[in-house]
């Protein structure tokens, strides 16, 4: 998958490139709108990560340029301004998603995968793991065809862990994914522990859940 990162902040671009490369994305980086405009004209990108606040270019103009491309790449807007108008404009102009800074790299990857599924019409929505199956479309989890009743939050947690398999997810990252859209006074990681406990209880009725590891003092990891 070929990704163009349009970001004028060098350090952030470096982190994005680093992360996406380890996730086997092929990354290009443009630090100005002009550079980005040239790059999208020449290369066929599958994905464009677009920072709207560019020094030399109106990010929304660049978005419009990208939308004219025939092969229709997935576009996610990244912005630190986060104003309502930006969001409405961005999505109105045809961006596939909008992620306000600061965002979690895991969240970015989850959103990118969702866009890919939608855009490139991935036929199967079922992800298998350890004899379990997780259907992202119907939001159901089963074991060898037998359905397991999970709450909404439990499903979201499991989905996120499966999506980022073999990676340690901290309680904070999980909390942010589950409750991130609500700005609350504080975060309480205990809720994550309780959800994981319940999840283990429900799943272990069908098979061992050794693959859902607790990393002491840090978080959880789903190994495959």
């Amino acid at each position: 998958m070929h990704v163009l990162i349009v970001e004028d902040e060098v350090s952030l671009a470096n982190e994005l490139v680093h992360f996406l490369s380890t996730e086997h994305y092929k990354c290009d980086w443009a630090d100005t709108g002009r550079d980005a405009s040239e790059k999208i004209a020449v290369n066929l990108y599958d994905f464009i990560l677009l920072d709207l606040g560019l020094p030399d270019y109106n990010g929304l103009d660049l978005l419009a340029e990208a939308k004219k491309l025939e092969h229709d790449p997935g576009i996610i807007i990244l912005t630190a301004r986060g104003s309502l108008e930006d969001r409405i404009h961005g999505l109105g102009l045809g961006a596939d998603d909008y992620l306000p800074k600061p965002f979690s790299l895991l969240e970015l990857q989850a959103r990118m995968q969702a866009v890919v599924r939608r855009k490139f019409k991935v036929k199967t929505s079922v992800i298998p793991f350890h004899n379990f199956e997780l259907d992202t479309e119907t939001r159901k989890v089963g074991h060898n065809g037998k359905e397991i009743a999970l709450t909404k939050k439990e499903f979201d947690l499991l989905h996120y862990l499966v999506l980022h398999k073999n990676r340690i997810l901290t309680r904070l990252q999980l909390t942010e994914h589950i409750w991130g859209n609500i700005l609350e006074d504080d975060y309480d990681s205990n809720y994550i522990d309780v959800h994981i406990k319940n999840l283990r209880k429900k799943l272990s009725a069908f098979a061992s859940t050794d693959w859902l590891e607790t990393v002491r003092g840090v978080g959880y990891r789903l190994t495959i």
Binding site: F19, A80, P102, T170, D186, Y187, Y191
Partner: protein
């Protein structure tokens, strides 16, 4: 009361007062005038009678055998003239009211009495009278017409005043109307006023310039919020992604992972504070839209569904009792969700295990009351007024709270013009009530 109504009422009242005063004063005045006119006429007649006597002699009136007296009155006894001889030395020159008997009928007359001496040495008394009834009759008629005239004048001037003040005050009414249309200084558009009244032009210009200043301040604030947002969130963004990359580095030793998690928490706290402050500022800067109808019952159900598992974890019963349907026509769903979520979350956080939370809603007169009651630790009475102050942490058992949850709640409530009341009894629980206005 509107200025125009006041002016019209005042003008009508002052005119009616003058009218009443005239009605009271007019009769004696007219009577006096009528009397004076009568007196003048009596004097004229006296002069003419005296002239006739001088030209033609007293014999014209009085001859021998007449008992030295002459009398004449007209058919209706309205007037009389009498001349009689009186004892020499008697003197009179008066005009006064007196009762006279004419043909067995007593009539009140205005009588001019005058004595004069002829060449022969005889003294005569001349009396000319006019009946007072006749005089009064004339006065009454005059008074009646004067009254009609005055009423007509008052009515006419009141209507003219009304129309005139309406025309004169029209620019003022326009200014008031324009101001009524403004919900927020941001929506104000300066407009010129076409009038010849300097005061209104001054008023309009002053309002325009003051609104301009407010708008300018609002724009400046908006710019500032945008800058703060960009300049602070960008480095946080870099730190966050860097920490995440380090966390997923397989070569990272385990004891350092825990340190990274600590860093991640601290960074999260910094991020939350900035985002909470930005949210409050953006709401106050009117950067959020109120463009969707929100069903309060649905909203409460959504929040409860989202948060129910947190209550379950602590074995707290979370009950709902929402009676009537209520729709807030112009609202922002996600802001209201955040508001209610924070209140219910507090109700869970500061509750005791196996405690209770009741989310109840019902119509009270023409408003809707949504109340969240918990059986938690409560708030000391003297602290209640301060719970909405920023960074005021009353009880933060986990030390992670940034103290901006309730300020957000209050800001969202104000943005939607909700009345927010808090009742709390220490160690028994707290009730937050939102009063939704009629849409």
């Amino acid at each position: 009361m509107r200025l125009q109504s006041k002016l019209t009422l005042f003008s009508a009242a002052s005119k009616i007062t003058i009218l009443l005063l005239l009605v009271l004063l007019l009769p004696p005045l007219i009577h006096k005038v009528a009397l004076r006119n009568t007196d003048n006429r009596l004097k004229e007649k006296k002069d003419r009678v005296l002239q006739i006597i001088e030209e033609q002699g007293i014999e014209q009136f009085i001859s021998e055998g007449d008992n030295g007296a002459y009398g004449s009155y007209n058919l209706l006894k309205e007037e009389f003239i009498s001349i009689e001889e009186v004892n020499p030395g008697t003197a009179a020159d008066t005009i006064e009211n007196s009762l006279r008997k004419v043909e067995n009928e007593v009539v009140e007359y205005r009588v001019l009495s005058l004595t004069f001496e002829m060449v022969g040495g005889e003294t005569y008394l001349l009396e000319i009278g006019r009946s007072l009834a006749t005089i009064r009759e004339g006065g009454d008629t005059l008074q009646k017409y004067a009254l009609y005239f005055l009423v007509a004048v008052v009515l006419l001037t009141v209507f003219i005043d009304l129309a005139f003040s309406k025309i004169i005050l029209q620019p003022f009414t326009l200014i008031v109307k324009r101001l009524q249309r403004i919900g927020h200084p941001g929506t104000f558009k300066p407009q010129q006023l076409r009038t010849s009244t300097d005061d209104f032009i001054y008023l309009n210009n002053t309002i325009n310039s003051m609104m301009g200043q407010i708008q300018h301040a609002f724009l400046k604030e908006k710019e500032f919020i945008g800058n703060v947002s960009h300049e602070l969130l960008t480095p946080i963004s870099i730190l966050q992604t860097r920490l995440e990359n380090l966390l997923s580095d397989p070569t990272m030793p385990e004891h350092l992972l825990e340190k990274l998690v600590d860093n991640q928490k601290t960074l999260h706290r910094l991020k939350s504070i900035i985002q909470a402050l930005l949210l409050i500022s953006r709401i106050e800067n009117e950067q959020y839209l109120k463009n969707e109808p929100v069903n309060i019952k649905q909203l409460a159900e959504d929040v409860v569904e989202e948060i129910a598992e947190r209550a379950e974890v602590r074995d707290i019963s979370l009950e709902m009792d929402l009676k009537d349907t209520w729709v807030l026509k112009e609202a922002n769903y996600s802001l209201l969700f955040t508001m209610l979520f924070n209140v219910v979350n507090n109700a869970i956080k500061y509750n005791r295990n196996q405690g209770k939370i009741l989310v109840s809603g019902q119509q009270v007169k023409d408003t809707y009351e949504l109340c969240i009651t918990d059986t938690g630790v409560g708030i000391p009475e003297e602290q209640v007024p301060h719970i909405f102050s920023r960074f005021k942490r009353l009880h933060a058992p986990d030390g992670e709270s940034h103290g901006l949850g309730l300020p957000i709640v209050q800001t969202v409530a104000q943005f939607h013009k909700l009345k927010l009341t808090v009742n709390s009894v220490l160690n028994q629980g707290t009730t937050f009530c939102f009063s939704f206005p009629k849409a």
